[in-house]
Amino acid sequence: MNKTLERAAPFLFGILGLGLWQLAVWGSGIPVYVLPGPIAIVQAYAGDFGTLNAAFVSTLSVAAAALLVSAALGVVLALAMAASTLLRAAIQPWAVILQVTPVVAIAPLIIIWGNQPFMALVVCATVVAFFPVLSNTAAGLAATPRDLLDLFRLNGATRLQTLFLLRLPAALPYFLAGLRISGTLALVGAGVAEFVAGSGGFSAGLAFRILEAGYRLEIARMFAALMLLAFAGIAIYGALGLLSHLMLRRREI
């Protein structure tokens, strides 16, 4: 009983908040172009269902592609850094520089250089998203238990055996934790890239729809796109949480 209530609590709290919001909008008579109520937002969403859903799919696919590239890139670079201290010294500072440079500043360049809009958006989102996977996986590879490494040596394990049977499985929880952070960052990166890129060529994403609705003072539609963007974030976070749960269940760490 208590458990059910706990599960329902966020939804009940949300409904309460939406109700109060609607009442406040009605009561104060605030115009819809300043603050629309939830009902107006749902109406705006229903009125522009096709376009907004296409934008949702577009943004989500950019974020998902960026996340996949980030995962692959992060793991490959982490492996390179774990394999040789020279490579680590060469790669690490550049990874940090790329991470600390605001993507808003480099996005216009990438958009100009990338002649294929989808690719350009994915590159921008990847720049934002790949670092947590890289640093977490590198930390995981470095934290392989020393005794187990000794055990592998005593039994004459090859480098590849040590990598696939020990180092990678030992780094898996670290990798998954990094992936969850990267997932939400990929969405942030996709949004920022869309702000810069506009709709040009590739089907326009949610962030572009938010900008567009803002210019046209369609505030309710702006909120509808924002709601979808939040939903995309929740979907990514939830999916990665589930993935991590499935891969790590019945493990000690």
Binding site: P145, D147, L148, D150, L151, F152, R153, L154, N155, G156, A157, Q161, L165, L166, P169, A170, L172, R250, R251, E252, I253
Partner: protein, 245 residues
């Protein structure tokens, strides 16, 4: 089976861990390396396992350098792979040498049964107690049929009851298998109970301060036998003498 001549180990930071260790180990012996923390006994074990090379001196093997898997090593922690079942953990040394799982499983199950875990082949480490994890770790060291079993304070983290049981089981396992065992410990009682020969080490740099052969009779009453208690007294006296004031 193995003899050490003038073995020393100095670490790159200048710490001298071991100085002029000379002894030889015969087939079938149960050696206890006894000494306080920091006396280099674990380092000595790692040298015997060839995980590290001595800075001076040499370790000679009567039957040639051991090949992969011919030395079994048990660490202070069970160090099992948490993502793999007990059987998978025990299978690991065979897997690393290219054995097929189906062919190896009867052997894996037999070794698990030997350490008293016949019913826990499929259990993940997270669901096993500390003593059971250590049993899996011992099974993993035994599965490749090593000639030499090196153990680095394997029971130090266990409670007294579990430790006694594991000591008894290890000893009967040794008697049945006739393996050569080198066992690092800082417990006088453990050394006196298990070993046929105790090497007492002095701290910093580690040297062999004394060597005592045990003449405690075999049998169920070993832990309360008069000659066991005499041995504990004798070793205690030696340790008191080698420890700096």
């Amino acid at each position: 089976m193995m003899s050490l001549a003038g073995v020393s180990k100095t670490f790159p930071n200048g710490t001298m861990a071991l100085e002029d260790i000379s002894t030889s180990i015969a087939r079938g012996e149960f050696i206890a390396l006894l000494g306080p923390s920091g006396c280099g006994k674990s380092t000595l074990l790692r040298l015997m396992a060839r995980l590290e090379a001595p800075s001076a001196g040499a370790i000679a093997w009567a039957e040639g350098q051991p090949k992969a898997g011919e030395i079994g090593f048990v660490f202070q922690d069970a160090t099992l792979m948490p993502w793999a079942s007990a059987a998978e953990n025990v299978f690991l040394p065979l897997k690393l040498r290219g054995q097929a799982r189906t062919a190896a499983m009867p052997e894996v199950k037999a070794v698990l049964a030997q350490v008293g875990l016949g019913d826990f082949a499929g259990a993940k480490p997270a669901s096993l107690s500390g003593g059971m994890k250590m049993r899996v770790s011992i099974a993993r060291a035994l599965v490749s049929k090593p000639k030499l079993l090196l153990m680095d304070e394997p029971f130090a983290a266990l409670d007294e009851f579990t430790r006694h049981k594991l000591q008894e089981d290890l000893r009967s396992l040794w008697r049945q298998s006739g393996k050569t065992v080198v066992f690092v410990t800082h417990s006088i009682y453990e050394a006196a109970f298990l070993a046929t020969r105790i090497l007492v080490m002095s701290p910093r740099p580690g040297r062999i301060a004394a060597e005592i052969r045990s003449s405690v009779a075999e049998g169920a009453e070993r832990r309360t036998a008069a000659d066991y208690i005499e041995l504990v007294k004798e070793v205690s006296g030696i340790l008191r003498a080698v420890m700096p004031a």
